[in-house]
């Protein structure tokens, strides 16, 4: 060891008052490169955080030319759609149509007048079509059995149509809707609004298609469970006269208010609720079902006023390119346990998603490859802290046969708008020629075919198969 080295090894090296030598410089600056490593790591982290934020926030909408819009059907669902539309810039409400003139119609016209819209109210949609010649689009939220007539007449009057799901309670009518849309060249969007929900789009495009994070999906389950509810009533002084009810297809005020429960008017909970989620099954699988088995009945309510089934359990079979998929769905209207969600189970992970923001996670199977890349790219958030998890699981791991529960990765996308807003925006932007419809008539038709078959299968009491040709118009 040289004299110099000996000195440098000594803690008191670098005695004051002498010229700096090379060793002083080297050792004095020895830890500076650590800052480089720190900076590089920090940049990587900032990049990851940026991706996470970008996934969270949708780009700001660019306002387009104003559109003249009418609302056809101003009941509960019409109100939901209207509240979402009032948050969309560039819409001029010109007309509202509802046969419950003293109640729904009055309420909605007054609301829109408060927003300074020059809006006219109509009882009969044909009067509206005659009276309003400069409409660009109509939003239809009437009972299912009216959808086809309303849609077809509006399309033929040259309007673009947003029609609530279920497209129709009759497949023949739904088919005519598709054909009319094609013939008139007008747009027909069906109200399966999850198709435009940024959280669902993220799951479909990033997690399932681009990353294939959950591997081969083999099973699905989903549900919409609701608490028991009394039938809808009405203030006696606002009751619609019988003759008018009859003119519009209702034999009583009760049927008018509770049409969803009656055959010939609606399709029951499987159609009202299940339709949204069964639509997601087909969308996420990129497939149509090949068969369905179902059990259901009016087990709780009075069958005289609840013709459709209050409890339904169905099992779909899908044939995808990767193989067979079995998909369970249940809806019950007597207990709200676990609410509503769709749960996709693949051999590498699980995707649980719900329109309600409370659910939206991907779980990695313990045997699957790590997901660090997808976390870095902002597809999912980093897993929930293992430390938090372990406490909940201490009991489970005591038994060696139990597998550890998989890591939970939350979805990075936040969505705080009214649920229907992006789907309506998609429709209006398509009318302006800027976007393609997320749920055109053909897609709505496929879902109607899939869903209405459940009621058939319950009646038949056996497994029903779909023909490939059944889904096409």
């Amino acid at each position: 060891m040289s004299e110099n080295e000996k000195k440098s090894g000594d803690a008191s090296a670098g005695k004051p008052g002498r010229a700096l030598d090379r060793r002083d410089f080297l050792q004095g600056l020895a830890t500076v490169p650590v800052l480089g490593l720190f900076g590089a790591s920090l940049l990587q982290k900032i990049g990851y955080d940026k991706k996470k934020r970008a996934a969270k926030t949708a780009p700001a909408a660019v306002p387009g030319p104003d559109l003249n819009v009418a609302l056809l059907g101003a009941g509960a669902q019409g109100e939901v759609l209207l509240n979402a539309m009032l948050k969309i810039p560039g819409l001029r409400f010109r007309a509202v149509c509802d046969i419950w003139t003293d109640y729904n119609l009055k309420k909605t016209v007054n609301l829109l007048k408060k927003y300074k819209f020059d809006v006219h109210g109509y009882e009969d949609y044909r009067d509206m079509l005659d009276g309003e010649k400069d409409l660009d689009a109509v939003v239809i939220a009437t009972p299912d059995f009216w959808h086809a007539r309303h849609t077809i007449d509006c399309l033929q009057a040259g309007l673009n149509v947003y029609c609530e799901k279920e497209m129709s309670n009759s497949l023949e009518d739904a088919r005519r809707m598709v054909i009319t849309a094609r013939e008139t060249g007008k747009l027909l969007q069906i109200g399966h609004q999850r198709r435009s929900n940024p959280r669902y789009i993220h799951c479909y495009e990033k997690i399932l298609r681009e990353a294939g994070m959950i591997g081969r999906i083999v099973t699905i389950n989903g549900q919409w469970n609701r608490s028991a509810q009394p039938d809808l009533g009405w203030p006696q002084r606002y009751a619609i006269p019988d003759a008018k009810l009859k003119k519009y297809g209702y034999s009583s005020m009760n049927r008018f208010r509770n049409w969803r429960w009656f055959k010939g008017l609606g399709g029951g909970p499987i159609v009202d609720l299940g339709s949204h989620q069964i639509d997601i099954y087909s969308w996420f699988l990129d497939a149509r079902p090949v068969a369905v088995t179902a059990s259901g009945g009016t087990d709780y309510y009075d069958p005289a006023t609840h013709e459709w089934y209050d409890t339904v359990m169905a099992i779909y079979e899908y044939q995808t390119r990767q193989g067979r998929v079995r998909a369970y769905y249940q809806t019950q209207t007597t207990n709200s346990s676990q609410g509503y969600f769709e749960n996709f189970m693949g051999d590498q992970g699980t995707l649980v998603i719900s329109e309600s923001g409370s659910r939206g996670s991907v779980y990695r199977e313990v045997s699957a490859p790590q997901w660090d890349e997808w976390v870095r790219r902002g597809f999912v958030l980093a897993p929930k802290l293992v430390e938090q998890k372990s406490e909940e699981e201490t009991a489970a791991v005591l038994d060696v046969r139990e597998t550890l529960s998989p890591d939970e990765h939350k979805l990075p996308v936040e969505f705080n708008d009214p649920y229907h807003k992006p789907h309506l925006e998609n429709f209006f932007n398509a009318v302006r020629g800027r976007e393609k419809l997320n749920c055109p008539a053909e897609v709505g038709y496929e879902t109607a075919v899939s869903v209405l078959k459940v009621n058939e299968a319950i009646e038949a009491g056996r497994r029903l198969e779909f023909n490939a040709g059944e889904f096409a118009v």
Binding site: G9, L29, L35
Partner: protein
């Protein structure tokens, strides 16, 4: 191993300890600065034990809280840089001990005290803050900056003969 050699390795090990603790400080400081809206309020408000009134007073007084926030963010960053670079090492270690002890007595991990803002792990009395303080005490007592650090250069240029 001869004594000199051992001494050299001991110093290298202490420099490693210093850099690692410094990294932690620097990151805590920079991360808070990058957040833009970081505030100590939540941490101070959940304070328990005998000093709780003091910390809660800090959180409830806007001017004091602002000062606490700025001192925290820049203080942690400066201490981190000092420890990594070995620049004013003793002062940095002492400041680090002071700031962490404040955290410790603000939310002490004593059995029977429960907090809603999560702290890592489960402890009785000794937590990672206290371990870090012990590390800083060691660093303060050894002149690692004059072995490997800017202090070596500063000391040589400006130190008293």
């Amino acid at each position: 191993m001869d004594e000199k050699k051992l001494q050299q390795w001991q110093m290298i090990a202490l420099v490693g300890l210093r850099v690692i603790i410094g990294w932690h400080f620097l990151y805590e400081g920079v991360a808070k600065l990058l957040l833009g809206n970081w505030s100590a309020a939540g941490f101070l408000l959940q304070s328990k034990w005998i000093f709780a009134p003091v910390f809660k007073w800090m959180a409830n007084n806007a001017a004091v809280l602002d000062a606490v926030n700025v001192l925290n963010m820049w203080g942690l960053t400066a201490i981190g840089l000092g420890l990594i670079l070995g620049c004013f090492t003793r002062l940095a270690a002492l400041a680090g001990i002071a700031i962490i002890m404040l955290y410790y007595v603000c939310n002490p991990p004593f059995v029977g005290l429960f907090y809603s803002i999560p702290m890592e792990g489960h402890y009785m009395i000794v937590n990672k803050n206290l371990v870090e303080v012990a590390g800083l005490v060691v660093i303060m007592l050894f002149p690692t900056g004059r072995f490997a650090g800017l202090d070596r250069i500063l000391h040589k240029l400006f130190g008293k003969k």
